[in-house]
Symmetry: C2
Subunit: 329 residues, 2 copies
């Protein structure tokens, strides 16, 4: 783990402070060398291959800045864990690059590390390396997440087949509504709080991803909106899809809010970081994986030939969507 | 490769533009899936293990901001390649997280990608994934570099043994003087230009690192100043060191400048991103590795028992150094 603050002043004691907080997080990580070498070194178990993803969250872009530090740590981890889940990977370890403005103090860093420690326990992985730097800009948190899968068994976006059923895990919409709540655009109350919590601390579907290995034909995590992400699967697989809008599961809180403001419903399908898994495959296989992992899935459509994503409303009418949302055709 | 711009506005076409520039860089990378999946998937060759490091450079901290985009790309890559070199690793591939303010235009991104492409060729590796995001702050470039080494053969900081000779590759001081040049604190001229160039585009000692595998006892790259980094090796190895200040090699340009301003000499030993390799081992082994790789090394001291780094001047007098530099004891 390198401590970097090169201009305008050379490395200072500030970063030893950070090392003090971060070093304990690397305890137990094979080949992290207590963050004391130039890089981490480790073997990948025989019969498995590596899954690697890198996602950064930036203050003012992916979070607003008034979040508690421990929740930010968990969000930065979990958006990456969600990518591992989408590939069917077992988490192995992560690298962290933290850019912090001068206003950040020790208590913030301590809370941030508590968040990391909590999720290290929950997902059974460790910090393996990275760096910390000062910045004249906003807080920025880059996480490189490493996992492993049995050789050749990673879940891909490109495997969807005509006749597959389309499933989604959990509930859609909390991410988008949570963002509205964070922006103060929803009435305050327990529902808004619940969605804000899920927005700030998404639940990566690791167990479901593992259970889908060898069963699903295609999978990805919903991070750009359900419809857009289904279009990605179709594009990568060379197929089309029919999706029943009314089948898309909403959480209880989201359903309640939508009952008041029905116009939000279609926005939920096109916006939001839901971090749920979008899955295609044979229905009995997907439902078996859901049962094995204890994660709810809902059938929301079918893969068809062609290259279009067609969305039907409750009356079986086709909805068409534009860049800004949906409208009836 | 994820395209992220979540708040204040959802993902836009801007990032498809970036994907257009970055996708060609992933061509030839096994398991990068054309940047079209949630993560990259790849195997590590039998008998080898993985070496991973993550370093970020931030505008206003690690670079000033008036650099050409292609040089910035190469610097971000090369500071990470230098860490791989220090472990004796063969470069495998890299992940890139790019945070860009709104003022950045297509021509900047195109030039940045040209820089990446040039160094991909030079170091025979590829882009494997990552993300791009907008930022209200400065340009930030995070690179996670992956390499491989034969199992158990990585060069470490912790292997130095009493009786080892201490070597350094190339010349020390250009990094520090280059920074002064970048800050306009050196007289303009060909010497300042040469050092500025090396500061902006360091030369990772990959070939030397490979040749040192199985030969050196300890190695690291000089990124926090020669003396401080030697102290890291001593601390990790539980040894002390005697270093002859006058043996430390300077480049021709640095030597010329130091002839004019002798007081700079000691600063060169404590400051600067030289990205040279600091090596300990038996002299014949290190010199054989240097000959095999065609990279000059210079013997600058010896590993001794104890826990101190002692620095001798030309008269054999001990220099002591403080946090701000050196002084005669």
């Amino acid at each position: 783990m390198a401590d970097k603050q090169k201009e305008p002043s050379p490395a200072t004691g500030e970063f030893h402070r950070i090392a003090q907080y971060f070093r304990p997080l690397a305890k137990g990580a094979p080949g992290a060398f207590n963050l004391g070498d130039d890089a981490a070194v480790f073997a990948v178990p025989p019969g498995r291959e590596l899954v690697v993803t890198l996602d950064t969250i930036v203050e003012g872009v992916h979070f607003i800045g008034d979040e508690a530090a421990d929740m930010l740590a968990r969000k930065a981890m979990r958006v990456n864990l969600s990518d591992l889940a989408a590939m069917g990977a077992t988490p192995l370890g992560y690298f962290l690059s933290l850019s912090l403005p001068k206003r950040i103090d020790d208590s913030w860093i301590e809370a941030f590390c508590h968040g990391l420690a909590a999720d290290q326990l929950e997902f059974d992985w460790h910090l393996m390396g990275g760096d910390s730097t000062s910045t004249p800009g906003p807080i920025s948190i880059a996480v490189t997440a490493l996992g492993t899968v049995p050789v050749g068994q990673a879940l891909r976006r490109s495997g969807a087949q005509v006749g597959d059923s389309i499933y989604v895990s959990g509930g859609i919409g909390d991410g988008f509504l949570g963002l509205l709540a964070a922006q103060g655009q929803l009435p305050y109350g327990p529902e808004a709080d619940a969605m804000l919590r899920r927005y700030r601390c998404p639940d990566p579907r690791i167990a479901l991803g593992l259970a889908l290995v060898g069963r699903a034909h295609a999978a990805m995590d919903v991070s750009d909106g359900l419809i857009g992400d289904l279009a990605h699967i179709c594009e990568q697989s060379g197929v089309g899809a029919v999706l029943r809008a009314q089948s898309v599961p909403l959480s209880a809180s989201a359903a309640e809010l939508v009952a008041d403001q029905p116009n939000l419903y279609l926005e939920l399908l096109t916006g939001g970081d839901d971090y749920e898994l979008l899955i295609t495959g044979r229905a009995p296989d997907i439902e078996a994986a859901a049962a094995d992992s204890g994660c709810r899935v809902t059938r929301i459509g079918e893969i068809v030939s062609g290259d279009r994503v067609v969305v039907h409303d409750a009356d079986g009418e086709e909805l068409t969507f534009t860049h800004v949302g949906f409208r009836h055709s």
